[in-house]
C-alpha cells in the first residue's frame, strides 16, 4: 500500500478518478473480448455478427449485475464501517449467505420446488431479501444498540447465528429427496456466472435509489465517523441515524447476496484501498471511489476468469487478496495498540 501520509490534491484526485474509470472501461473491454473473440478462437468457431449480438446482450446483463452488486457492496461496507467505527469489518462477515441459503432451504423443504415462491425469481428474491432484512435487523438491534458498538460481540453473535442456520439447513437438506436437493443446490450456488440477468436489471433502480440516499447523506457520515460522543455533540440524532443506517445496510446486503452470493472481502478491499489512496474522511469521495474500485475489481477479475476458462473463479481471487489484506490490517491495528 502507499505509505505516504499526505492527501492528494484536488487535481490529483480528479486524475485518480479518471484513471479508475479508464481502468473500468478497459476491464469491460477485456471482458467483452474474453467472452467473444477469445472464446471463439478457443472453440474454433468464427465470430459472426449474429452470435456477437446475442452474446453481447447477455454480457450487458452480467455487467449490469456486477456493477449493481459492486456499487451496493462498496456503499454498504463503507456505511457499515463508519457506523461501527471499525476499518476491518464488513457486513458480509456476519454471514448473510447462510441466511440466504437457510431461507431457500426452508422454502424448498416445506413448499417444494414447484411453488411460485421458489420458481418466480422476483417473488423469491423478495422473500429472501425480506428474511435477511428481518434477521439482520434483529441481530443489529440486539447487539449494536444495547452494548454500545461492541464489535467483537457482534461478530461473535453473527458467527454463531450463521453457524446455527447453516447446520439447520444442512439438516433439512439431508432430509430432502435428491431431485429437490439438486434444484436447491443450483439455486443457492449463486455466483457471477450463474447470475440472473433479468433480476439484475430489475434491481438496478433499487441500487440507484439506495446509493443516492447514501450519497445525499454523505455529510452526516462525515460526522458519524468521529464517533458516538462527537456525533452527538455536533447535534446528530445518533440513535436515529444508526438505526436508519442498519436498515439500509441490511437491505443493500440482501440485494447483493441474492444477486451474486457472498463476496466477503470485496467491500473491505475496495473501501480500504480507497482510504489509502485518497486519505480523506469526505464520504462523498469515499463512496464514489470505493464503488468504482469495487466495480473494477469485479469486472477485471471476471474477465481474467473467462480468459483462463474459469480455472480460477473471481470470488476466489478477490477473497484471497482481500483475506491477506485483512491480515495486514489486523496486524497493523494490533501494532498501534
Amino acid at each position: 500500500m502507499i505509505k505516504l501520509n499526505y492527501r492528494p490534491s484536488k487535481r490529483l484526485q480528479k486524475i485518480i478518478f479518471a484513471i479508475i474509470i479508464f481502468a473500468i472501461v478497459g476491464a469491460i473491454a477485456l471482458y467483452f473480448y474474453s467472452r467473444t473473440y477469445a472464446k471463439s478462437q478457443k472453440v474454433g468457431l468464427p465470430m459472426t455478427a449474429q452470435a456477437f449480438k446475442s452474446i453481447s446482450e447477455r454480457i450487458v446483463g452480467t455487467l449490469v449485475g456486477m456493477s449493481v452488486s459492486a456499487f451496493i457492496i462498496a456503499f454498504v461496507s463503507l456505511a457499515f464501517q463508519t457506523t461501527t467505527g471499525s476499518r476491518i469489518l464488513t457486513p458480509s462477515m456476519i454471514g448473510f449467505d447462510s441466511i440466504f441459503i437457510g431461507t431457500q432451504t426452508v422454502i424448498v423443504f416445506f413448499l417444494g420446488t414447484s411453488t411460485k415462491i421458489f420458481s418466480n425469481v422476483y417473488l423469491n428474491f423478495a422473500i429472501t431479501a425480506g428474511a435477511m432484512l428481518i434477521v439482520s435487523m434483529l441481530m443489529y438491534g440486539a447487539v449494536l444498540r444495547n452494548t454500545k458498538n461492541n464489535i467483537v460481540f457482534l461478530l461473535l453473535f453473527g458467527l454463531i447465528l450463521s453457524g446455527i442456520i447453516r447446520s439447520g439447513s444442512t439438516y433439512l437438506q439431508t432430509l430432502m429427496d435428491p431431485t429437490k436437493f439438486n434444484q436447491l443446490q443450483a439455486a443457492t450456488a449463486v455466483s457471477i456466472n450463474s447470475m440472473n440477468a433479468k433480476l439484475a436489471i430489475f434491481l438496478s433502480p433499487f441500487m440507484i435509489v439506495i446509493c443516492s440516499i447514501f450519497l445525499i447523506r454523505h455529510r452526516s457520515y462525515n460526522i458519524l465517523a468521529l464517533g458516538e460522543d462527537n456525533a452527538k455533540n455536533l447535534g446528530l440524532n445518533y440513535l436515529k441515524e444508526t438505526n436508519f443506517n442498519l436498515v439500509m445496510i441490511s437491505l443493500g446486503m440482501s440485494i447483493a447476496t441474492a444477486l451474486i452470493g457472498s463476496l466477503t472481502f470485496l467491500g473491505l478491499l475496495a473501501v480500504n484501498i480507497t482510504r489509502e489512496i485518497f486519505k480523506t474522511n469526505k464520504h462523498f469521495i469515499l463512496f464514489l471511489a470505493s464503488a468504482l474500485i469495487a466495480t473494477f475489481a469485479l469486472v477485471f477479475g471476471q474477465a481474467l476468469t473467462e480468459l483462463t476458462e474459469g480455472s480460477v473463479p473471481v470470488t476466489v481471487i478477490i477473497d484471497a487478496i482481500g483475506c491477506s489484506y485483512m491480515f495486514y490490517l489486523i496486524l497493523k491495528e494490533n501494532k498501534k495498540l
Binding site: 501520509n5 492527501r7 452526516s220 460526522i223 468521529l226 462527537n230 486519505k279 474522511n281
Partner: protein
C-alpha cells in the same frame, strides 16, 4: 442557564447518580471533583445530553432538554469527552469545520468560515492546520478538539478530564485556555478534573461528588480544606496555602508511621509557619517565593530520602530476622 433536577441514573441496579440537583453557575469554571466512580463523568454526560436521562430532567433556559431538537441543543451546549485517538484522515482544519455542523449542516457559509478562522487563531493552530489529527501530539490533538468546540460557538462547554494524558506544561496551558474562554469569550465551562490542585488553582466553583451524590459545593475556599476533601476522597489531606492559592499535599506522609519520624511533623509545623509568614506579607517578592519553593522542595526530597532509607532498613531487618530464624 442549565439546571439539573433530581437526576437518578443507574447502570443495572446500582445508582450511579442518586437524586442530583445542581444549578450551573454562568460565566464561570465549575470543576467536578471526586474519587473514581463517584459519578462525575456520568453527571457531565447527562447534563450535556450525551447520556439519555433515565429519571429527572435537565433544563436549558427552563426548557427540558429532551424536548429541544438535537441540532438546536448543539448550538447551545458543546461537550468533549476524554482525549480521543481517532485514526481518521481528518486534518485539523476539517475537524474545526465539523464544529460548524450544527449551524450549517456541513455547507459552510462566509460567517462559518470566519468562526473557523477565529477559533484556529484562538487555539494557535494556524501553522499545523493541514496536519492529520492522527499525527499530532496529545496536547495538539486536545487543542484541535477544543478548537472544534469553539467553532461550534456555544455558550456552555463541558469537558471530561481534558488533562488526561497531558504532561504538566500542556495541562497548565489547557487550563489557561479554559480560563481564557470564560474570562474573554464569556463562556460557561464545566470540567471534570482528577487533580484537585488544578481545580483549586483554576476553578471558580467546585462541586464535590461521592457515591453518586453531591456532598459539597462552593467556592475554592469553601471546598479546598482538609475536612471536606478528607471526606470526599477518603484520604488524609494536607493543605498548604501559598501565594494565596491552596495546594494539596496528598502523598500520604501524615498517615505513615506517626511514631517513627516525628521530625516530619516538626517540618510540617515549620511549613505552616512559613506559609503564615508569607501570608502576612502583603507584597511578595519573586525571589523570596522562589526560595520558599526551594526550601520546600528540599524538605520534600529529604523526607522522601528518609522514607526510602527507613523502608530499606526495615526490609533489611526483616531479612536478617528471617535469616537468624533459619540458622536457629
Amino acid at each position: 442557564m442549565i439546571q439539573i433536577r433530581n437526576i437518578v441514573q443507574s447502570y443495572g441496579r446500582e445508582h450511579v447518580l442518586d437524586n442530583i440537583s445542581l444549578d450551573i453557575k454562568e460565566n464561570a469554571i465549575t470543576a467536578l471533583i471526586g474519587a473514581n466512580g463517584a459519578g462525575k463523568s456520568t453527571l457531565l454526560g447527562v447534563a450535556s445530553r450525551l447520556l439519555p436521562v433515565i429519571s429527572g430532567e435537565v433544563l436549558l433556559d427552563n426548557i427540558n432538554i429532551k424536548s429541544i431538537k438535537t441540532r438546536e441543543v448543539a448550538k447551545q451546549i458543546a461537550v468533549l469527552k476524554q482525549t480521543q485517538s481517532l485514526s481518521l484522515k481528518v486534518t485539523i482544519n476539517e475537524l474545526v469545520e465539523f464544529g460548524r455542523f450544527p449551524h450549517c449542516g456541513g455547507r459552510l457559509k462566509a460567517e462559518d468560515r470566519e468562526k473557523i478562522e477565529e477559533s484556529i487563531r484562538f487555539m494557535k493552530l494556524n501553522d499545523i492546520r493541514d496536519k492529520f489529527i492522527d499525527e499530532l501530539s496529545g496536547g495538539q490533538r486536545q487543542r484541535a478538539f477544543i478548537a472544534m468546540i469553539l467553532a461550534q460557538d456555544t455558550k456552555y462547554i463541558f469537558l471530561d478530564e481534558p488533562l488526561n494524558n497531558l504532561d504538566i506544561k500542556y495541562s497548565v496551558e489547557m487550563m489557561h485556555i479554559i480560563r481564557k474562554l470564560v474570562r474573554r469569550l464569556n463562556k460557561t465551562v464545566v470540567v471534570v478534573l482528577h487533580d484537585i490542585n488544578f481545580a483549586s488553582a483554576y476553578a471558580d466553583y467546585i462541586v464535590a461528588m461521592k457515591d453518586g451524590k453531591i456532598i459539597n459545593q462552593g467556592s475554592v475556599k469553601e471546598i479546598v480544606c482538609c475536612d471536606v476533601l478528607n471526606n470526599v476522597f477518603d484520604h488524609d489531606f494536607n493543605i498548604i496555602e501559598h501565594d494565596n492559592r491552596r495546594v494539596c499535599l496528598y502523598y500520604g506522609h501524615n498517615s505513615h508511621r506517626h511514631g517513627e519520624n516525628s521530625h516530619i511533623h516538626e517540618e510540617n509545623k515549620h511549613c505552616a509557619k512559613l506559609t503564615n509568614s508569607t501570608n502576612q506579607q502583603d507584597v511578595l517578592s519573586h525571589d523570596s517565593t522562589r526560595e520558599d519553593l526551594k526550601t520546600n522542595k528540599n524538605k520534600m526530597q529529604e523526607f522522601f530520602k528518609f522514607k526510602y532509607f527507613a523502608d530499606k532498613f526495615k526490609s533489611k531487618k526483616a531479612a536478617s530476622n528471617s535469616n537468624a530464624k533459619k540458622f536457629s
